[in-house]
Symmetry: C3
């Protein structure tokens, strides 16, 4: 293959899907597809990132995302280091900038960062001269690998993304998952409808071409993909939505409501599920649910992103 | 060696010793013996589980058990991932079942689980279609690798298990170590005597053929193995036994009391020791103590269990 | 090379720089220099400690030191295990001695220990028959790998250590960094001046040949190396020094004060920096600052120490 044909990711960091082109997203999804084959092997290990150091810098608690990244890293043969906020000198008041510069001075190749502050990964990337930053979720901003694994799961099940109608339900305003999905789906040519209480949908969203409804039946009707967001139980105190019971009654996805969906529609959720709130167990575990495929695809997507950013594909500016 | 001669472990999980046959236990002990040689090498590493992922899922704090498993895993060249309750999305209220299914969807091969609830590993194993579960201690139920390492240590020092008299002292009711030892020792043909305050011995134990006494001298007299359990200091509040001082006076193993034992009797303890309570330091560190051998054997046993369950020996149902 | 020419480290443990000879320090620095070349490679991995187990036993929170050791260990291909106090059975009241003996019984090769009690690593080393102990900071006693990385950084930038004038500013009494630097610098032939509030300088220090001043200008004047210690904010309650504002006014290193230094003088700090207190940001990030070189050298020094103690160079008593 000559240089012109080599697929490239024209970026050093993955901070969000907002500025990812259709070609970049397609490259990541295709690379992930090739890693899926590795995942199914009895020995799930490729030497691609041997001798590279990756620090998982988690300032928020996380099970699945940290585990998923760490598995992806180990399957690429990278050396992984975990750093969580509570066990660290963040206690001593070190600034994020000093943390970043210290990590780079230790010759770390890549930082996977989760932070409660929107923009923390961007700031980190600006402090680093050489190391790669992957956003593993920042505040209500973006969670790009989640968005990508969702795109991959949709493409797997529907054969395409373009032209599909995707309905996203829940707290759109505070959801980094929703934001990454909206950017990614739009770029890949899907049409979008969001549904939730008026207090939890950004007022300016409709102007950007996203359909907005507050009636679940309207959102489900004709949708190819029904994506339930996780309700952040801690948001309730803010008075932005009523009781969980009322939320479930108005916006919970039940088998009855799924009857209005297309027969081939799939159900997605980023996890962990509040069963009986945003999603009925019968739906979460039902035949239309692709939730566990999302989890498996998370490994493949993270392998692909880490591989492409850490030297798997040459960058034009390299 | 033809297929009929190949030693096999006829199970997917190790949840307890209650249902392990004499042949299975012997296979694990013999396999552990062969790993002991690996442990003594300068380079303690075999490629047996290369490319396999093992998650250590600890919902209770633990030093030695987690460390022992992790060392065993790394010496088998597996990729290890640690997941502790406090640093995880258990905080977010995810159910154990969802945790299990997510872990499996990440293509994890094996889950080593410690949980304060008896039966949690069994429940986990029922949620998993493919991954192997190893119980690292569940509530007051079982701690099978502890039972196995104790069996190995007894066999090492006494040359056999069958026909030995083993005395177990302490809080039998609440001890998963006692339960796994009782099942394992009985299966291997040892005779058992337990000794402790009446409030801390299950009333139905005697009916199962275990001798019960409340006088330490009686238990020690004629015993080949003297096994002191750890007193859970937090149990004291429950009023189930009097002061530590009184416990030590009645049930603490001292050099004076050891004078009543057989000259070749060995002293065991699962650790960590409450020195001066269940065990006098002179006994814990004395010539009859095999406590540190138990720790070393823990590595060999865990290597053996992980090896046999993760493809080291073919299963008949495979 | 015959045996007499082979460089050796005549010790099993690295507990402090107090008893390290000039030859030993030089051997470590020279070995670190050779590892620097490894650190700059795209694949930063040598097989030197393959199959060795190293436990990072941290009883105090730490970001950079734990990360730095773990990176060094992984780059030497050792298996690393992390053990932090909060997630461990220290909760259960196990003594340090029992922890040590258990770790050794698990056939761990090397223990990197940080502890708030001075002397804990020494005590640990006395409990261990075979395993190697590396002190990663104990109370106000020593932090020898910090001292060594500082020596390496000085030698890198100034071409030598002997004959240099090194000024150390801050809380000398409570600083393990200061103590390790004082021992190491003195052994390597530097002359020392310390500067801080009278309450924070040990009264007997002057008798050992270290110059003492309470005026920052006097310390900076003619110094080749200006080393600012981190002010432990938690010390303030003790009434040993006044407000942070007053500390910064009297002892903070500012661009104005640096004007009194030699033109080629370098500025050092062990991190994390209290910006605006002991060090002005303009100085910390200025052209004379070698603070990030210290961090990089930390990896090389830790690789060298772990390599030399774990069989990289034969010991005479082996």
């Amino acid at each position: 293959m000559n240089a012109d044909e080599t697929p490239r990711l024209n970026r050093r960091h993955l901070l969000g899907l907002e500025d990812c082109s259709r070609e970049e997203i397609r490259l990541i999804l295709d690379t992930a597809d090739s890693f899926k084959e590795v995942i199914e092997r009895p020995i799930r290990k490729v030497p691609a990132l041997r001798g590279k150091n990756i620090v998982n810098l988690f300032f928020e608690p996380s099970t699945r995302t940290r585990l998923s990244f760490e598995i992806a890293e180990k399957q690429l043969s990278a050396d992984t280091l975990n750093f969580t906020a509570s066990a660290s000198s963040v206690v001593k008041g070190e600034t994020l900038r000093d943390t970043a510069r210290n990590i780079e001075a230790m010759k770390v190749d890549c930082v996977v960062v989760r932070h409660s502050a929107s923009g923390a990964p961007l700031f980190l990337s600006q402090c680093l001269e050489r190391a790669v930053v992957v956003n593993a979720g920042d505040g209500a901003h973006e969670h790009p690998t989640q968005g990508l694994l969702d795109l991959l799961t949709i493409r797997d099940h529907m054969g395409r993304i373009e032209g599909l109608r995707v309905a996203i339900m829940g707290d759109i305003t505070h959801s980094r998952v929703a934001r990454s999905n909206i950017w990614g789906l739009r770029t890949m040519g899907a049409s979008l409808v969001v549904c939730g209480p008026p207090t939890l949908i950004p007022p300016d969203l409709e102007a950007t071409g996203v359909e907005v409804t507050h009636r679940l039946e309207e959102a489900i009707d004709g949708a190819d993909v029904i994506y339930a967001l996780r309700i952040q139980l801690e948001r309730q105190q803010g008075g932005l939505f009523p009781s969980l019971r009322e939320y479930a009654r108005l916006f919970g996805i039940t088998p009855e409501r799924m009857a209005h969906a297309k027969p081939e529609a799939i159900v997605m959720h980023p996890g962990p599920i509040n069963r009986g709130v945003e999603l009925d167990s019968a739906v979460a575990d039902g035949s239309r649910s692709v939730i566990l495929d999302q989890v498996t695809n998370g490994i493949a997507i993270r392998m692909a992103v880490l591989y492409l950013l850490n030297g798997g594909g040459e960058r034009e500016d390299a």
